[in-house]
Structure formats: structure tokens, C-alpha cells
């Protein structure tokens, strides 16, 4: 076995240029995959963070049936806006923060024009603990709402644009209480928000919770709690713990359930990446098959000689498999190393996305898990085995008499 390995190693070194070229395709294949995955994960975690930290929260708690009819913002499906209820949420392991919200539908107008809006009344005492980046989505020139603010609002930038209203201006908001009473209120615009999601820009007004409650006559009530978690990777188990603790009158959804659009984008990105990986895998495999076939062809006489000297057919098979694996392993390991270093380097630098007008810069940092890198190497190596199988098998089935005559 040692001799076989040493023979295989030296044979790989024999046609150095060809082995190098084949190894390089594996190298680039693995490196590209690791980097593409890294970029994708970086991008996805950026999108997820934007969702989880700036708007949705990791989890949301509603009265049962709310999410199915969320478009109608059903006010009769409400929860208590009190500290004991919030503490029940905070008692669950992995829960890092919770904040009540009241979501209402209504009309906004400036006296001349009017449009539909979605008002999100937020508990300013706890909102930043739960969605710490909701402040940074306020465009330069405006400011985040403060706990002392009343009759104030942050408007989506497109919503504000539709009225020609800017920071410091005012709009009239109108909404209907669950009992059917129509209320109206003038609010001062304290800032404009900008989001990657068009709906947020065009429709959403963020209000102090008390202002929203006053508009619809629902003091002491909220329609949802946004929940922050310590570890996103344990999201499902945290959701289950909340469901168990809160009972059947309440429903718990994760950001994945609530943001089907984002979930689908991520799914599509992953599918695309999978397709590209598969294509790359096939290309690299073809290269290895080609190299090993050429090697078998060139060494026909040598194989005949080995068989004549009493080498078993199985050993010939192993020899060529080993040669393919050595190329795949060397290329794969170096590709993984280079890929990992590149991902680390780009992550350290960061790719900046400066979404126009937002004070904070969003930075994409590619990331890969050690497991993914190891899996890429494993796939490269098993791919090399697969690709060498046929040429190696042919080598082992050669007729020594014919091979020696060639």
C-alpha cells in the first residue's frame, strides 16, 4: 500500500503540466464555490439582519388568526400592552427583547390629497431594544422618535414625497376604531425612513404607540409584539417555547413566516448557487476524466508490464484512483485554503452599500462556515474518485498481452 501510494504520487508528478492544470481546475472550482457561498451568505445575512433588526424582529406574537388577515389590520385581535405580558415573553430562554406595537390602517392627507397608509405604533421605551436598527433607517436630516414624543411620525420617504411634505411638516391621519368611530389627528413629521422594501417606503408611517392607540381608541392594547433573540440559529426552538408558554389564544411567527418574499429570495439565490455549483462540478469532473483517460492511454504498456509481473488488477484500479484522488485532494485543499482566505480578506475589508440618503452604511461581509469549506473539499475529493473510476477500471481490465504489444 505504501508502495502504491508512493508510485501514485510520483506518477502525478510525471506529467507535471497536465496534473497541475487538472489540479488547478479543482482549485478554482473549490475556491469559486467557497467565495460564491460566502458572498451569498453575507448578502443573505445582511438582508436578514435588515429585516430582523430594523423592522420585523426575529419573531412576532399575535392573537390567533391575526397574521392570516394581517392586510386588514384587524384591531379586534389584540393583546394587552402591559408589562406583565411583556415579562412572560422575556422569561423564555434566548429571548433578548420584546416590544408591543399597534398596526392600523388609515388615510393620510395634507388637505389637498389623501392616500392610504399603514401606521405602526411602537413602544418607544422598548422598540430600540427589540429592533436596534430601526433608528438607523431614518434618513439624514430627520431624527428617531423619542419616548417623550406625541403626535409625531416617521414617514416612508415615498409616502412623504407623495404629499410634498418634509421633516418638520405635518400631515393629518385618519383611522376608524373597532367600534366604528372615525378619529383624525395632525402629526408632525420628525423624519423620513428608507428601506429596501418598496412597501415600507410607500405606505408606512411609524407613530408613538400612544398616538396610534389614541387614533383608534385602543388605550392599553397592541396588535403585536416584536421579539428579539440572542441567537438566530435557535429561532425555531425559541418560537416553540413561546407557543408552549403562551397557549392556544396566541400565535407565534418567525421572520421566515412573516417575510415570505425574503424567504423566497433566499431560496432562489440558494437554488441558483446550487445550479452553478453543479455545473462547475461537472466541468471539473470532465477535466479529471480526461486527464486520467489520457494517462491510462499513455501508460498502456506499463500497465501490461505491471500485470505481467504479478500486480493484481485491483491494485491497478487502486493506483489510478489514488492518482485522481491525489490531484483532487491537493487542488481541493489549496482551493479551500485560498477560498477561505479570500472570504476572510473581503470580510475584513467589507463591501459597502450606501443606500442613498441613509446615514448608516450597510456593509456586506462574506462568511462561510468551516463545515461548508470541509464539505467543498469532500465533494472535490469524492468527485475525483468518481471521475477516475471509469479510466481506472479500464486500466485494470487491460489485456496484458495486447497492452505489451502496443
Amino acid at each position: 500500500m505504501k508502495r502504491l501510494l508512493s508510485m501514485a504520487l510520483r506518477n502525478v508528478g510525471r506529467n507535471r503540466r497536465r496534473s497541475l492544470l487538472t489540479g488547478l481546475t479543482v482549485f478554482f472550482g473549490v475556491m469559486v464555490i467557497v467565495n460564491a457561498r460566502g458572498l451569498m451568505w453575507g448578502l443573505q445575512s445582511m438582508l436578514i439582519e435588515d429585516t430582523v433588526e430594523a423592522r420585523v424582529g426575529a419573531l412576532q406574537v399575535h392573537r390567533r388568526g391575526y397574521v392570516d388577515s394581517a392586510d386588514a389590520a384587524p384591531l379586534e385581535l389584540s393583546l394587552p400592552a402591559d408589562e406583565p405580558f411583556r415579562q412572560r415573553l422575556l422569561a423564555i430562554p434566548n429571548v433578548a427583547g420584546a416590544s408591543g406595537r399597534l398596526v392600523i390602517n388609515g388615510q393620510a392627507s395634507n388637505g389637498r390629497a389623501q392616500t392610504l397608509f399603514v401606521g405602526r405604533g411602537v413602544d418607544l421605551a422598548h422598540e430600540l431594544e427589540t429592533c436596534p436598527r430601526s433608528a438607523v433607517t431614518v434618513k439624514a436630516g430627520g431624527s428617531m422618535l423619542q419616548p417623550a414624543d406625541a403626535d409625531a411620525a416617521l414617514l416612508g420617504s415615498a409616502l412623504a414625497g407623495a404629499f410634498g411634505v418634509g421633516v418638520g411638516g405635518s400631515v393629518a391621519l385618519q383611522a376608524t376604531s373597532p367600534g366604528g368611530r372615525v378619529n383624525s389627528l395632525d402629526v408632525q413629521v420628525k423624519g423620513l425612513t428608507e428601506s429596501a422594501f418598496p412597501f415600507e417606503n410607500q405606505r408606512v408611517a411609524v407613530l408613538p404607540l400612544s398616538t396610534a392607540q389614541g387614533l383608534v381608541g385602543m388605550a392599553g392594547r397592541v396588535t403585536e409584539y416584536a421579539v428579539r433573540v440572542h441567537e438566530l440559529s435557535r429561532l425555531e426552538e425559541t418560537a416553540d417555547a413561546l407557543r408552549a408558554a403562551l397557549g392556544p389564544d396566541v400565535e407565534v411567527h418567525t421572520w421566515r413566516d412573516l417575510q415570505a418574499f425574503l424567504r423566497d429570495v433566499i431560496y432562489r439565490q440558494n437554488t441558483l448557487l446550487g445550479g452553478v455549483s453543479l455545473l462547475l462540478f461537472v466541468v471539473v469532473l470532465t477535466g479529471i476524466i480526461n486527464t486520467m483517460s489520457m494517462s491510462v492511454f499513455e501508460r498502456t504498456r506499463e500497465i501490461g508490464m505491471l500485470l505481467a509481473l504479478g500486480v493484481r488488477r485491483r491494485a491497478i484500479l487502486q493506483l489510478f484512483l489514488l492518482e485522481g484522488v491525489l490531484i483532487g485532494l491537493a487542488g481541493g485543499l489549496m482551493g479551500a485554503l485560498a477560498g477561505r482566505l479570500l472570504v476572510g480578506g473581503v470580510a475584513a475589508l467589507g463591501i459597502s452599500f450606501n443606500i442613498s440618503g441613509i446615514a448608516a452604511v450597510t456593509v456586506l461581509r462574506p462568511q462561510v462556515t468551516p463545515l461548508f469549506v470541509a464539505a467543498a473539499v469532500a465533494v472535490a475529493v469524492s468527485g475525483s474518485v468518481l471521475a477516475s473510476l471509469w479510466p481506472a477500471w479500464r486500466a485494470s481490465r487491460l489485456d496484458p498481452v495486447q497492452a505489451l504489444r502496443s
Binding site: R3, M7, R10, N11, G13, R14, R301, E302, G304, M305, L306, L307, A308, L309, G310, V311, R312, R313, P400, V401, L404, R405
Partner: protein, 236 residues
């Protein structure tokens, strides 16, 4: 004296698509231990085919073959791998060394295939043989750093490393100049004399025939003159 090998009525037919080529048409041959036998004949007469069958690389289409008291006619290829490795040494016309191995590694290779031989034993025996064929100062050279004559010496040493009952050489001097051929032949004759190694080889070269104990001639797949009278060199 017990025969080392005995062929009876050996025939070999190759099928090439629809046409059949008959390479051997009933060969009878017996070789005793310690003999130095050459087979001569024109190109295409069946020398290589005969040696391949004797070397258990190929199987006869008809006839029986008893090697060292054992009927090997019906054994399959993998079962014969062991027979080849233990009983037969091969010397090829084109040397056929392992290009990535040095001289010692090439010589020890067939011995190192055996599970019952340690690496140190194989190495020791390879050194002895490198000495015997006059290559002791080239043991670390690779085949491509050696002349044709030196390569064939490596091949001879490799053929002998397992102490085989029989060494087969198919036109071992065909790729060498006449002076080098002479030296290679001397080497084989010496090994035959001193160690009692049984040689059976094929050649074109009439000067080689003069040295053999026994010269056989094959033509069109048949032995002619059964066994020629031992040549004058038989008394060496």
C-alpha cells in the same frame, strides 16, 4: 530428469472481428531445469505468442501446459498472477521498467509484491542483483538516466529477484547494438552457469543462437526440426 515445463499440442487462434488468425498450430515443447534455450523464427512466426503462453500471460486455445508439475492451462488470469510472480521472470524487448522508480526500486518490485517478504529483505536482494548485473553504482538512477544496455541489465536483475524457476526473454537484445547485445548475452549465460537459472528466449539474431544449449526454430506457428542439435556453446 523432471521437466520444468511441458507443452502438448498448443494452439492459439486470435479472433479479429470475423477473421481468425492462427498464431500457433500445435506446438510440443519440453524444457528441463537449467537449460538455456532459444527460439528463433521470422517475424510473425509466433515467438511472442508462445512465450506469452509459457509466461501465463495468455491462454492457449487448445492443448495442455504443465508448469513445474502443475497444469496451468485452465487457470484464470488472476489466479495466474501468483504463478507469474513466483515462478517466472520476464525480460521484455522494450525493457519496460517503471519510469518513476529508480534502479533498486525497479529490481525489488516483483519481490516487494509478496506479502511474505519484508521491505528490508527485498531491498537486500535487489542490492545483490544490482551488483550481479554490474549496476551497483547506478542504484539511485531512474531508467531515463540509463543507457539501453543498462536498462536491460535492470530488467534482467528484476526478472531474477524472485529466484524464479524460469526466465522468459522476448527478443531481449533486439533494441541493443551488437556490442551491448553481446554483453547482455554473456550476462545471461553467466547467470545460467553460476546460478542454474533456466532461460528461454526468442531472438532473430543468429549470433545469439550460437551460444545456446539448444536452439528451436518456429515457423508459421509450428516447430521445425523439433529440437536442433545443441550448438557448440553447450559445453560452457
Amino acid at each position: 530428469m523432471a521437466e520444468l515445463l511441458q507443452l502438448r499440442g498448443i494452439q492459439k487462434t486470435y479472433t479479429l472481428g470475423k477473421t481468425e488468425v492462427t498464431a500457433l498450430r500445435g506446438v510440443d515443447l519440453a524444457v528441463s531445469p537449467g537449460e538455456f534455450t532459444v527460439v528463433t523464427g521470422p517475424s510473425g512466426s509466433g515467438k511472442t505468442t508462445l512465450l506469452n503462453i509459457i509466461g501465463c500471460l495468455d491462454r492457449a486455445s487448445a492443448g495442455t501446459y504443465v508448469l513445474d508439475g502443475e497444469d496451468v492451462s485452465a487457470r484464470d488470469f488472476d489466479a495466474l498472477a501468483e504463478v507469474r510472480n513466483r515462478k517466472i521472470g520476464f525480460i521484455f524487448q522494450g525493457f519496460n521498467l517503471v519510469p518513476v522508480f529508480d534502479v533498486l526500486e525497479n529490481i525489488e518490485f516483483p519481490l516487494a509484491l509478496r506479502p511474505d517478504v519484508t521491505a528490508a529483505q527485498a531491498r537486500e536482494r535487489a542490492r545483490q542483483l544490482a551488483d550481479a548485473v554490474g549496476l551497483s553504482s547506478f542504484v539511485r538512477h531512474r531508467p531515463d538516466e540509463l543507457s539501453g544496455g543498462q536498462r536491460q541489465r535492470v530488467a534482467i536483475a528484476r526478472a531474477l529477484v524472485t529466484q524464479p524457476r524460469l526466465v522468459l526473454a522476448d527478443e531481449p537484445t533486439a533494441n541493443l547494438d551488437s556490442h551491448t547485445s553481446e554483453q547482455i548475452l554473456e550476462l545471461m549465460l553467466g547467470l545460467n552457469r553460476q546460478e542454474g537459472v533456466t532461460f528461454l528466449f526468442s531472438t532473430h539474431d543468429p549470433r545469439v543462437v550460437a551460444h545456446a544449449h539448444r536452439a528451436l526454430s518456429i515457423q508459421d506457428g509450428r516447430m521445425v526440426d523439433g529440437a536442433l542439435a545443441p550448438a557448440s556453446g553447450a559445453g560452457h
